[in-house]
């Protein structure tokens, strides 16, 4: 091989910053930092009010100073519509039920709107409606209002569902993303990453097959059971898009605290771990649809874990970390499996499978 002429390392080449200032890209929907920036820069600017500014997944207000109503709203796009463990119907109902339940409220009612693409199969619509009914019954709620619109072929991807859930909460219950305190501990109700991997496998675009099922489930009964034994819970949140890592970062910012996780304690199914390694994903960033993160005083953690484990959706509940005082900026850190420490950042944009 001939002697190479050495390049000049002082000459640097750089791209211009990415032009995501003008258009929506898929990363805006990933649930990570780009989603947050989009919401902050457009929606929060125009819609700002005390309830919305709390940045929880639900809003609550008092009626005649004695009844506390909790409302949450959600839109659902998923491909494929039917996946191992569930479908868009179950996802829609469970998703909204869970958002409301994360305030500690009992969800009571749901409204649903459907945008259907011309040509969408009626049998599939029937299956979805049935699934919604079954999930609603499981959660103990009623679907009380709905609307349907049809879009021309090509203008909507088969079916989009939007739901709003309404619940009633005790006026004394103070649960929200801003309530985590140093000294609290973190509990996750079960294994992470199941839903995201199940969906990816079902899409069949990345060539892998697995028996992993989505964990999609309504968690309101589970949460009520835990609240009975651990009434001083500070934060409840379901780590959906963007995964556990993104949820923790959001809460750290809301509460102005730091979190310290123990990697060894975080439950991940071995198939999910394997799929993540194949794709180059980190399970901490993969979506869940049937798990709840609980932040509560340490003294109540044992009772909470006991209550969780009694319930079918909480059998694998574990303590995964603790809340520490903020130093500098809100941060999530983790003791790794080999004893090192690293930052667990928020998801930046869409997670893409990598070869490097």
């Amino acid at each position: 091989m001939k002697e190479p002429k050495n390049p000049d390392f002082n000459q640097v080449y750089c791209p211009l910053p990415l032009p995501y200032k003008e258009k929506i890209v898929l990363s805006h929907g990933s649930g990570g930092r780009m989603t947050k920036d989009l919401i902050d820069s457009i929606f929060n600017q125009h819609f700002s009010n005390p309830m919305l500014d709390k940045q929880n997944d639900f809003a609550d207000f008092m009626v005649e100073a004695k009844t506390r109503i909790v409302i949450s709203t959600d839109a659902h796009i998923v491909s494929p519509l039917f996946f191992p463990g569930g479908d868009i119907g179950r996802l829609a109902v469970a998703g909204s039920v869970n958002d409301t339940a994360m305030s500690g409220a009992q969800p009571k009612f749901l409204t649903a709107t459907f945008i259907l693409e011309e040509g969408f199969n009626l049998k599939d619509l029937e299956k979805i409606a049935n699934s919604m009914a079954e999930t609603a019954q499981e959660a103990g709620i009623e679907i009380i209002a709905a609307d349907t619109k049809v879009a021309e072929k090509g203008k909507a991807d088969q079916i989009f569902i939007s739901t709003t859930a309404i619940g009633i909460a005790s006026p004394d219950l103070i649960i929200g993303g801003e309530c985590a305190q140093p000294g609290d501990v973190l509990i996750i109700s079960g294994s992470i990453g199941d839903h995201g991997i199940a969906i990816l496998a079902a899409r069949n675009q990345l060539g892998f097959r697995t028996t992993i099922q989505s964990d999609v489930a309504p968690l309101n009964h589970l949460i009520q059971a835990v609240l009975e034994t651990a009434p001083n819970i500070h934060v409840l949140r379901d780590p959906t898009r963007g995964g556990l890592a993104t949820t923790l970062n959001e809460i750290a910012a809301q509460s102005q605290v730091n979190f310290l996780l123990e990697e060894d304690k975080i439950p991940v199914k071995k198939e999910v771990q394997a799929a993540c390694e194949l794709l180059g994903f980190d399970p901490l960033y993969v979506a869940n649809e049937g798990k709840v993160l609980i932040i509560l005083p340490e003294i109540q953690s044992e009772a909470a874990l006991k209550a969780l484990k009694k319930h079918p959706f909480g059998r694998e509940a574990t303590l995964i970390g603790k809340v520490t005082p903020m130093q500098g900026s809100p941060r999530v850190r983790m003791h790794t499996s080999i004893g090192g420490t690293r930052i667990v950042d928020m998801l930046s944009g869409e997670m893409l499978p990598r070869i490097c």
């Binding site: 190479p4 390392f9 080449y13 791209p15 910053p17 794709l279 003791h335 090192g340 893409l352 490097c356």
Partner: protein, 359 residues
């Protein structure tokens, strides 16, 4: 059995051994971006004795793919009737004006594939479209990319072509170690590159520059083993190439894979983004596969690349500076708004630092 390469106790023991044998400061380069990523992800860096400095090399094919090629990719992907396929890593790499992701957002048919054979299958299923595959990577990925060209020719699939950007490790090592500002004293060779190519070609490099080289894997135990073997040699003033990844690597490598590569590719000069042109440091398609070469097929001229001056990727890729030395790091330069290639790729040094260690 493989889980044993991740166990904490073993790793702690090797770290203790490294601490014991280290008597002076040493600077070791790990050239593979995947190893950089793993070291940061496991929080390994801070567990090493302070005397050991790990320098992150330019082993990130996503980072070093030339700006001109990214712009060509964007140009081709924006064409009507083209299905542009790529490994996921490349989608967010910024070109002069946009990246492949934004081409997708504007309606271009850009698809992530997990293998080149998948791209070939897309070509078969869409005979009326042109399917282009972005063939990037170091030696590890070359046989995987090459096989699709061989099969395309065998099966007469005429609507498939590849935009090639392969880079090679040994010329990069020569360039780094031969530079007057070189600080590297020991080298961790990329385990999977060596699984393909073997490690014979590192022996003359080690001798020429008097730098010990250790073929290293990717599990935490592999990484600390690799570092330990390097430090041992440095402390004893030995210069050899040692294989610490024997379960996957042999001295001559995978000869069948090498044959596949030689069938399809030939050496060429390559431009490394952030560094410059390194002679004979890349592979391109052999003339008899010209019809499968996307650059030839699409004739993309008039590509004007725009460079900026804030980013110090070049200095970081050579190991002269750390991401945290850069005034833009995590302030104006973040993964959402990268100024340089090393912040874009999930395994670029800046990205790894940002995600795992920016405090």
């Amino acid at each position: 059995m493989l889980e044993k390469f991740r166990t904490k106790d073993q790793v702690i023991r090797i770290l203790a051994e490294i601490k014991k044998i280290t008597t002076q400061p040493w600077r070791i380069m790990e050239i593979c971006g995947g190893q950089t990523h793993a070291i940061m992800q496991y929080g390994l860096y801070e567990l090493l004795p302070a005397e050991i400095e790990l320098i992150h090399g330019p082993g990130c094919p996503v980072c070093v793919t030339s700006l001109e090629l990214v712009d060509k990719a964007v140009a081709i992907a924006s064409m009507e009737n083209v299905i542009f396929t790529s490994y996921g890593d490349m989608l967010r790499v910024p070109g002069s004006n946009q990246d492949l992701f934004s081409v997708k957002a504007s309606g271009g048919d850009v698809r992530v594939v997990y293998s080149s054979l998948e791209a070939l299958r897309i070509a078969e299923r869409n005979p009326d479209k042109e399917v282009v595959f972005f063939g990037i990577g170091f030696e590890t990925t070359a046989p995987a990319n090459a096989i699709s060209i061989i099969k395309a020719q065998e099966r007469g699939i005429n609507n498939y072509s590849m935009l090639v950007s392969h880079v090679l490790v040994p010329p990069a090592m020569h360039a780094i170690l031969g530079s007057p500002s070189n600080r590297v004293q020991g080298f961790l060779a990329a385990g999977h590159v060596c699984a393909i190519m073997g490690y014979e070609e590192y022996e003359p490099i080690a001798q020429k520059y008097q730098v010990p080289v250790v073929v290293t894997g990717f599990e935490p135990l592999d990484l600390v083993l690799g570092i330990m073997e390097t430090v041992k040699m440095l402390e004893n003033n030995e210069v050899r190439v040692v294989n610490a990844y024997t379960r996957a690597v042999t001295r001559s490598g995978n000869l069948v894979a090498q044959e596949i590569i030689q069938n399809v590719f030939e050496i060429c000069d390559r431009q490394w983004r952030g560094i410059g042109t390194i002679p004979s440091s890349g592979w391109r398609l052999k003339p008899r596969f010209q019809e499968f070469d996307a650059e030839w097929r699409f004739n993309v001229h008039n590509i004007h690349t725009h460079e900026s001056e804030v980013c110090i990727s070049g200095l970081i890729l050579q190991g002269l500076k750390k991401p945290t030395d850069c005034p833009a790091f995590s302030i104006t330069c973040t993964p959402q708004n990268p100024l340089g290639a090393t912040m874009v790729s999930s395994e670029g040094a800046c990205s790894a630092y940002y995600h795992y260690a920016r405090d």
